[in-house]
């Protein structure tokens, strides 16, 4: 089930994140933002720009380089009733936070039988392109999906970026909030007023009867491009954005696959033990004996991310590889090679970050 899109004006994904944070900080004095560089002149690509000038230096501040302790600080502040937003310029650095996130944040409500809650938002930006390389390009959602007690969201549109951020801030649980750097300049319709996009509701972005394409984060954009390529050969793809990965709206995905009989899952990460594995396993459990279906998965190549452009191009799925894989599912042959220009946001990205 999808939550309704609200009317609004066109702003970018980055502006939507800024607006969501600012409105929540206005609403609730317990909300604060911290992390490396959030109060510098770049303001985390504008998403936290000058929030300290609006709300004071205690509500948008830089930190020492110590992700482990700062995650603990976020948890401690949350235990005291505050609602911290901890920002990481690259998701790769979350590996330094795993003990606090997995052993404490995810478990405190349970271990202490509801005596405490840990309402923290971990903003994690996934990097890509212009030489980000092996340690500035990783997306670890599957690590967090594995752990009971954590919520994981990966909004793909400006509308959902704002709405999910507001929902994450208001949530009484730890939320891993994944943003993709390649989505930052994308514009879309975003309501001016505050609104929450509830977790656990996948969005059906395009309707189609031939193949279901489930795509995560930036891959949603590529899947929509693939959908246009597929139209040219008479294939109607139903593109679904789960929006939140934990909780995961399998009902919407399974209903679509039950109808189309074909599913391509395109993750913005590796396939091995990834979100795509989980979605496929749940589809199997849900549909076996009820509906035969064909399935394929795409994700990062099973290598670390290379830095040089020609290899990096091979590392990621794109509109053409998604379209080809979907075509193969429908036609049972790979005799079609669609041509598409490189994604605009990737071609135009000139870094350095």
């Amino acid at each position: 089930m999808s939550s309704a899109l609200k009317p609004g004006r066109s702003i970018t994904y980055a502006q939507a994140l800024y607006e969501g944070a600012r409105q929540e900080m206005e609403r609730d004095p317990n909300v604060f933002v911290f992390g490396l560089g959030v109060d510098d002149a770049r303001g985390m690509y504008g998403t936290t720009l000058d929030l300290h000038k609006v709300f004071g230096p205690d509500r948008n501040f830089d930190t020492p380089l110590c992700e482990d302790a700062m995650t603990g600080v976020a948890i401690g502040a949350a235990l005291a009733g505050m609602r911290p937003i901890h920002v990481h310029q690259r998701m790769d650095f979350l590996l330094l936070c795993m003990n606090q996130l997995v052993n404490i944040a995810a478990k405190s409500s349970y271990m202490f039988a509801g005596a405490v809650s840990v309402p923290i938002v971990i903003r994690a930006i996934i990097g890509r392109s212009w030489g980000q390389g092996a340690q500035h390009s990783q997306a670890f959602h599957s690590y967090f999906m594995h752990v009971p007690g954590l919520k994981v969201v990966a909004p793909a549109t400006p509308h959902d970026a704002k709405g999910c951020l507001i929902a994450a801030i208001r949530d009484n649980n730890p939320v891993i909030f994944m943003e993709h750097r390649m989505l930052y300049q994308n514009a879309g319709i975003v309501p001016e007023e505050p609104y929450a996009v509830p977790f656990g509701n996948a969005r059906i972005l395009t309707h189609g009867d031939h193949v279901t394409i489930v795509a995560v984060s930036h891959m949603v954009v590529e899947a929509l491009r693939a959908k246009h390529l597929l139209e040219a050969v008479g294939i109607a793809a139903e593109v679904i954005d789960p929006v939140s990965l934990a909780p995961l709206d399998m009902g919407t995905i399974a209903a679509s696959v039950e109808r189309t009989g074909r599913v391509l899952i395109v993750d913005n990460s590796w396939t091995m033990c990834g979100a795509s594995s989980e979605i496929l396993a749940q589809l199997m459990e849900c549909l076996q004996g009820k509906r035969d279906f064909r399935a394929a998965r795409l994700g990062y190549a099973p290598t670390p991310c290379p830095t040089t452009k020609p290899l990096e191009n091979l590392f990621y799925p794109d509109a053409t590889s998604i379209a080809e894989a979907a075509y193969a599912l429908v036609k049972n042959t790979r005799d079609w090679k669609p041509a598409a220009p490189e994604a605009k946001e990737i071609a135009e990205f000139k870094g350095p970050f």
Partner: protein, 317 residues
């Protein structure tokens, strides 16, 4: 703060109560009703008792899996603690925590962690929130000297000092991380020196002296309440029993018997007890013994949690 003489019965009650609770746990352990690893505080009671005697009820304590002493000294509910050790529904965490994760929010005893040093940054974060709200309360953060091997400890000291947060760091130096001596883990085993690097004022209290710990804590707490930022206490102490479990551990030969014997001779429970007349002491012991018997009976009578409890509290609504 009441004078030393007036407060002695309170200190003795707290020391004796913790000691007797743990002795009862040892006594009951062979029944296998306590299905939880226990990290006993026997020998280390004076640190929790001395520091907590200098805290106000609203002050917040963070501790470790060796947490029985702190939980009780901070005012945690005894019945719910024993029920928790029994895995019962009336436990302080409905049986989902056990000995290593005691919690009592009513007495501002935050849940303890079994991962060494992990609660230190949370204590700092809690102190950040208190400062942001200009609250009167402060945080007392207890950890063993083993935690000072962990990197997050220093990240936390740094941030607490940087932001001048209202937090008292209490290092319970019992010399051993399981069976590994501090001198085998640090090139220069001096926790105070390490904290002082962050310009945090430090004080070491030798021999586990309850009264000196209380006095040092009171000085530190007063400075913290004035807004002077974090303070660090190193309380020398000694664990009499094995790292985990109810037994003595002389058979493992990792520490000299004479070292243990010297600490046992300096027993703070007995020493503080001797400062009172026999009648006062006997009365305290009678009341505490009855309370403990009640707590164990309460735990015995409490039901185990129902199956529906398995899925409860994974998320907060």
């Amino acid at each position: 703060m009441s004078s030393t003489r007036e407060s002695l019965p309170g200190l003795y009650r707290s020391l004796y109560r913790i000691r007797r609770v743990e002795e009862k746990i040892i006594e009951y352990y062979p029944t296998d009703k306590i299905k939880s690893p226990v990290h006993l505080s026997i020998g280390q009671e004076s640190v929790s008792v001395g520091v907590c005697a200098a805290l106000a009820p609203d002050d917040v304590a963070f501790g470790t899996y060796r947490g029985h002493a702190l939980y009780l000294a901070k005012g945690g509910d005894l019945k719910r603690m024993i029920a928790e050790l029994y895995g019962k529904a009336d436990g302080c965490a409905r049986g989902k925590a056990g000995s290593m994760h005691l919690v009592d929010m009513g007495s501002h005893m935050m849940g303890t962690s079994a991962i060494v040093a992990t609660t230190i940054p949370q204590a700092v974060g809690y102190a950040f929130a208190l400062k942001a709200r200009r609250a009167e309360a402060i945080v007392a953060c207890f950890f063993g000297e083993g935690a000072m091997d962990e990197g997050v400890c220093y990240e936390s000291f740094n941030f607490a000092a940087l932001k001048k947060l209202p937090i008292l760091f209490v290092c319970e130096n019992n010399h051993y991380a399981i069976y590994s001596h501090i001198r085998d883990r640090m090139p220069h085993p001096d926790p105070c020196e390490r904290a002082a690097v962050f310009r945090i004022p430090t004080e070491r209290i030798e021999l586990g002296d309850t009264l000196l710990i209380r006095e040092a804590s009171a000085r530190a707490v007063a400075a913290i309440r004035k807004g002077e930022g974090p303070r660090f206490l190193e309380c020398m102490t000694y664990r009499w029993r094995d790292h985990v479990g109810p037994d003595e551990d002389r058979k493992w030969k990792y520490r000299p018997d004479a070292e243990l014997d010297a600490w046992i001779r300096a027993d703070e429970v007995a020493r503080i007890g001797r400062m009172m007349d026999d009648r006062t002491r006997a009365e305290i012991e009678r009341i505490v013994d009855a309370e403990i018997a009640d707590a164990f009976a309460f735990a015995e009578a409490s039901p185990f949690p129902g199956g529906e409890e398995l899925a409860a509290h994974v998320f907060r609504s």
